[in-house]
């Protein structure tokens, strides 16, 4: 609102005021003063009226957003639980997979070892250099190899099925994360509504803030490294940077 007073007392008004005062007509003098000031009052009242309406709207909008309360007391704690579920399910899946893989490694190694045992005699056989006693030994080794391979491939097959089934977390965690994303979107909308209700322009406030970093600049995995100048995008970038430093 303009603070400039636009009151102009005319000579005629001044004369009348003097006349009222001289003739002891106090009421009329007051009236005249009010009349002279009235343009300011009109503007002032209009402005106060506007502000009051805005305040009223803001408060009622704020009340309307009682959803915010539910978000803070129910939905967000629920989301935290959901995200913890994601952590435990993915950890469980990783461990199940590694259990299977760690069991497969030695099995494969033992088959490899038996193949290595058979190989020299097998090589001799292929070159017609095998005598009868060696042939018997080879048959024995191959018999063992076949038996182990049969047994162990069955085992590996079972373990591979375990690895396969351990991936079922993806479906569940995907659903859970999608729900949490919906919640985050809703919280975002509510916050924007609140900012708007209090007359703050969320678009105007939108700046290119970098994600918050912790101690030692810790930020964790970078989501959109192609849009950032301050991060490396892969191992080659790291190697280039280090070699530019003389590493």
């Amino acid at each position: 609102m303009s603070t400039k007073t636009s009151v102009h007392v005319s000579l005629e008004q001044a004369k009348r005021l003097v006349e009222y005062l001289e003739t002891d007509q106090q009421d009329k003098a007051d009236e005249l003063i009010a009349e002279i000031q009235s343009p300011i009052n009109t503007a002032l009242f209009a402005e106060i009226g506007k502000l009051t309406r805005q305040l009223h709207d803001s408060l009622s909008n704020f009340h309307l957003d009682s959803r915010l309360n539910d978000l803070a007391t129910a939905d967000i704690p629920d989301a935290k639980e959901r995200l913890n579920f994601v952590i435990s399910r993915t950890e469980e899946a990783a461990n199940k997979t590694m259990d299977a893989v760690e069991t497969i490694f030695p099995v494969v190694d033992s088959i490899q070892q038996q193949i290595n045992t058979v190989k020299p005699l097998w090589h001799k056989l292929m070159h017609n250099e095998l005598d009868i006693s060696e042939f018997k030994a080879l048959c024995r080794d191959i018999d063992i190899l076949l038996k182990t391979t049969e047994k162990e491939t069955n085992k590996i097959h079972g373990l591979m099925t375990d690895v396969l089934m351990a991936q079922d977390f993806q479906d569940l965690t995907g659903q859970v994360i999608r729900k949490v994303i919906d919640l985050v979107r809703e919280v975002e909308d509510s916050l924007i509504n609140m900012l708007t209700a209090f007359g703050m322009d969320s678009e105007q406030e939108k700046t290119t803030h970098l994600p918050k970093v912790g101690e030692n600049l810790v930020e964790g995995p970078i989501m959109n490294s192609e849009n950032r100048q301050d991060v490396v995008s892969d191992q080659d970038d790291v190697d280039d940077l280090l070699s530019s430093l003389g590493f």
């Binding site: 461990n95 590694m98 490694f105 030692n216 301050d230 490396v232 191992q235 940077l241």
Partner: protein, 134 residues
């Protein structure tokens, strides 16, 4: 740490430091696949440091972002301790800011791998680190 022929001693004592047990397990498996058998684990710098001071470790693989003592602080502590300062340190981390990589280099890191990484990358970096030291 090295046999007279210059080959890498696969019996060297390795400490793997990461707050996620699954990542420790992955790194342990990869190291085992490369022939390393003497591997211990710690879940952050403050657990790792006393272990390093106690046992005669030959090599440290550490994450950066961990609760308690972070990897970069562990690295600085290792370099500041006369008895540990010779131990090569390989950082395996999701931290990818150039500033951080420079920071780690200045703190005396021997290698820096960004997650996600491959078995081949780990292998290459290990070779490079021990080739330099040898």
């Amino acid at each position: 740490m090295f046999s007279p022929e210059g080959a890498l001693d696969k019996n060297m004592k390795v400490l793997v430091v990461d707050d996620f047990s699954t990542m420790r397990r992955i790194i342990k498996n990869l190291l085992r696949d490369l022939g390393f058998t003497n591997i211990s684990e710690a879940d952050d710098g403050s657990t790792a440091l006393p272990m390093l001071k106690e046992g005669d470790f030959d090599f440290v693989v550490t994450d950066w972002n961990m609760p308690g003592m972070q990897g970069i602080d562990l690295l600085k502590a290792i370099r500041a301790d006369g008895k540990l300062s010779h131990i090569p340190v390989l950082m395996v981390t999701a931290e990818a800011k150039k500033e951080q990589i420079v920071m780690a280099a200045q703190a005396g890191v021997n290698g820096y791998i960004v997650k996600p990484f491959t078995a081949a990358t780990l292998n290459t970096k290990l070779d490079k680190i021990f080739e330099r030291l040898g």
